[in-house]
C-alpha cells in the first residue's frame, strides 16, 4: 500500500499517531528530501506531498491512503473516504481583522483567503456580504496592508496575529488532520485499514 503524508503542519502529529499505532515509518521526517520511500518493515511506500495536492493523489489511487487537513478537504471537491480525524494538531479556520468587531449587517467587505469555497459558504450564513478573493500565502497581509478589510485563515496559537496587530473575530470551523482513503483501496485493503484505525482509536489518537 502507498501512504501519502503531508509536508506541512499535519506531518508531525500524523507521524506520532501512526508510530504509536504500530507503524515504524523509519526515516520519515519533516526534513527528508525523499519524495518517495519504500519501508519494507511497514510493507508501505510513503509519498511526501503538498497538502493541496494530496487529495488528488489519493482520489486517483496513486496513494491508497493519506493524511490531510479538513480545511483542504472542505475546499476541494474530492471523492474520498474519511474513516478518522486525528486528535493532535488541531487548529481553527477563523475570520480575522484589525479589530474584534464583525462586519456590520448589510455591509460589503473585501475578504482575502486561501479558501474561497469555504469562505463563500461561511459568508452565505452571515448578514453581511463580501467580495472574496484568493491569496496563495501570508493571507494576514491582506487586512494588515489594507488589500482587504478582513481575512479567513488558519489560526493555531494566535501568535502571528498578535505580532501583527490582528485579532481573531470569529471561528469559522475547527480544523483537524483527517485520515483519508481511496474508495477502491478501501474495498481492496479493508482489513488492514480498519485494523490501523481501530488501533488509533484504542490509543485515543483519533477523535
Amino acid at each position: 500500500m502507498r501512504l501519502a503524508l503531508p509536508k506541512g503542519r499535519n506531518l508531525e502529529p500524523a507521524l506520532a499517531a501512526f508510530r504509536a499505532a504500530g507503524l515504524g515509518l523509519r526515516g520519515v521526517h519533516a526534513n527528508s528530501r525523499h519524495l518517495r520511500q519504500t519501508l519494507e518493515e511497514d510493507d508501505l511506500e510513503v509519498l511526501m506531498l503538498k497538502d493541496w495536492d494530496l487529495p488528488l493523489y489519493v482520489e486517483h489511487g496513486i496513494a491508497d491512503f493519506g493524511v490531510v487537513g479538513s480545511d483542504v478537504l472542505g475546499e476541494t471537491d474530492g471523492d474520498l473516504l474519511i474513516p478518522a480525524r486525528f486528535r493532535e494538531g488541531g487548529c481553527r479556520l477563523s475570520l480575522i481583522g484589525p479589530s474584534d468587531a464583525p462586519p456590520a449587517a448589510g455591509s460589503q467587505i473585501r475578504l482575502a483567503t486561501k479558501y474561497p469555497n469555504l469562505a463563500k459558504r461561511f459568508v452565505a450564513t452571515r448578514p453581511w456580504g463580501a467580495e472574496i478573493f484568493k491569496l496563495s500565502g501570508s493571507v494576514e497581509l491582506g487586512p494588515l496592508l489594507e488589500l482587504s478589510e478582513m481575512a479567513i485563515d488558519i489560526v493555531q496559537t494566535g501568535q502571528t496575529l498578535r505580532d501583527n496587530g490582528l485579532v481573531e473575530i470569529e471561528v469559522v470551523e475547527q480544523v483537524n488532520a483527517c485520515l483519508v482513503v481511496n474508495r477502491a483501496s478501501y474495498q481492496r485493503h479493508r482489513r488492514r485499514i480498519n485494523d490501523l484505525v481501530r488501533e488509533l482509536e484504542r490509543k485515543e489518537l483519533v477523535l
Binding site: 488528488l56 482520489e59 486517483h60 489511487g61 496513486i62 491508497d64 471537491d77 471523492d79 474520498l80 473516504l81 474519511i82 474513516p83 478518522a84 480525524r85 482513503v181 481511496n182 474508495r183 477502491a184 483501496s185 478501501y186 474495498q187 481492496r188 479493508r190 480498519n194 484505525v197 482509536e201 483519533v206 477523535l207
Partner: protein
C-alpha cells in the same frame, strides 16, 4: 496567423489509435447488446429544460448547460440519457409492446469542477430494460453490464447495494440531521457511525451489518436476495478480472423513505438495486446503474425499469494504463 490547438476545460479530442480503440470497443458492445435483443435509440443533444425540473436531482440540474434559444425557450444540452429516454417514452407507453430493450450511445455534457479526470463532455454507452417485473431484469442487466465492461477492462470491481437499505438504521438514530449521518456513513466516518449505532459501524467497516435483521425484515430479505445474485453472477466471471461485492455504505445516501429526504430535489431516481463499477485504484466510477421505477412514477407511469451506463473513455484509458 498561428492557431492554438487548445480546447475548453473538460473537453478532449480523440485522434488516430484512440479513435480506433473507442470504435472497436463500441462495435463489440453494440454487437452484444443487439445479440441480446436490445435496439438502439438515438436521442437529441438538445432538449427543453422544463421536463427535467421534476426528474433529476438539484445537483444534476446545476450541472446541466442551459441557455435561452432565439425563440425564448430554455434549452439544455443532454446531461443524462435515462431521464431523456423516460420522458420521451412515458406519453406513449400504452401503445408500446413491453418489455422494451433499448440502448444508446453518445456524448453527455455537464459542468464539472476543473480537476484531473473530470470531463465536461464525455461519451457513454448504456442500456435500459423496461417492463419486466421481479428480480429477473436486474440479473439480465447486471450480466450485460459486466460482459461489456469485461471486453476491455481488467481488475474491475463492482459494488452492489439497494436504495433505502439503511433507511431503518438512519431513522432509528438519535441525531438531528439524518442526511448528514448518511453522508458520514458513505464516507466511512467511523466515529459518527459508531455514535449512532453498532449496526451502522458494522456497515461502515464491512459493508453489511453482522445481523441482517438490524436493517428491518424487508431490507434483510432484500439483502439476502442481493447477496445470492452477487454470488451467482460472480461464478460467471473470472475473479481476476471482475469482482463483485455487496456494500451498503457505498449507497447510504440513496434513500427511499420520505421522512429521510423531505427535500425531493435531493433524491436520485434510483429506488431499488444500485451498482457502480470501478477500475483498478481509481475512485472515479466507470459505470453505474440500477432500478429506477421511481423515475417513471414521477412521469405518471407504473413500470419496472432497470438500466446501466458506461463512461467509455475513462474505462478505456484506465484499462490501457
Amino acid at each position: 496567423m498561428r492557431i492554438s490547438a487548445a480546447l475548453p476545460a473538460g473537453v478532449t479530442a480523440l485522434l488516430f489509435d484512440q479513435v480506433k480503440r473507442r470504435r472497436r470497443f463500441e462495435g463489440r458492445a453494440v454487437e452484444i447488446l443487439e445479440e441480446r435483443g436490445f435496439s438502439e435509440a438515438i436521442l437529441p443533444i438538445l432538449d427543453y429544460f422544463e421536463p427535467y425540473q421534476a426528474l433529476v436531482t438539484r445537483q444534476l440540474r446545476d450541472e446541466l448547460y442551459r441557455f435561452v434559444d432565439r425563440d425564448g425557450e430554455l434549452l439544455v444540452l443532454r446531461g443524462d440519457f435515462t431521464p431523456m429516454l423516460a420522458r420521451l417514452l412515458a406519453p406513449c407507453l400504452e401503445s408500446l409492446e413491453l418489455p422494451l430493450r433499448l440502448f444508446y450511445r453518445g456524448d453527455l455534457v455537464r459542468y464539472q469542477e476543473e480537476r484531473p479526470g473530470r470531463l465536461r463532455e464525455y461519451y457513454e454507452i448504456g442500456a435500459e430494460l423496461l417492463g419486466v417485473a421481479g428480480q429477473e431484469p436486474e440479473e439480465e442487466v447486471l450480466d450485460l453490464f459486466l460482459r461489456i465492461l469485461s471486453l476491455e477492462g481488467e481488475e474491475i470491481r463492482v459494488i452492489l447495494g439497494f436504495a433505502g437499505a439503511l433507511d431503518g438504521l438512519l431513522l432509528a438514530a438519535d441525531v438531528d440531521d439524518r442526511s448528514e449521518l448518511a453522508r458520514a456513513v458513505a464516507r466511512r466516518e467511523r466515529r459518527v457511525a459508531s455514535a449512532a449505532s453498532t449496526a451502522l459501524l458494522e456497515v461502515v467497516e464491512e459493508g453489511v451489518p453482522v445481523r441482517a435483521n438490524d436493517l428491518g425484515s424487508l431490507s434483510a430479505t432484500r439483502l439476502e436476495a442481493l447477496q445470492d445474485l452477487c454470488a451467482r453472477l460472480q461464478t460467471r466471471f473470472d475473479p481476476q478480472k471482475v469482482t463483485l461485492a455487496v456494500d451498503l455504505a457505498e449507497f447510504a445516501e440513496d434513500f427511499v423513505d420520505g421522512d429521510l429526504v423531505r427535500d425531493a430535489e435531493r433524491r436520485s431516481y434510483y429506488d431499488g438495486l444500485v451498482f457502480r463499477a470501478y477500475l483498478g485504484g481509481s475512485a472515479q466510477s466507470i459505470g453505474r446503474g440500477g432500478r429506477y421505477d421511481r423515475l417513471f412514477r414521477r412521469l405518471g407511469c407504473d413500470l419496472s425499469a432497470v438500466g446501466f451506463s458506461i463512461s467509455v473513455d475513462p474505462m478505456l484509458r484506465g484499462a490501457g494504463s
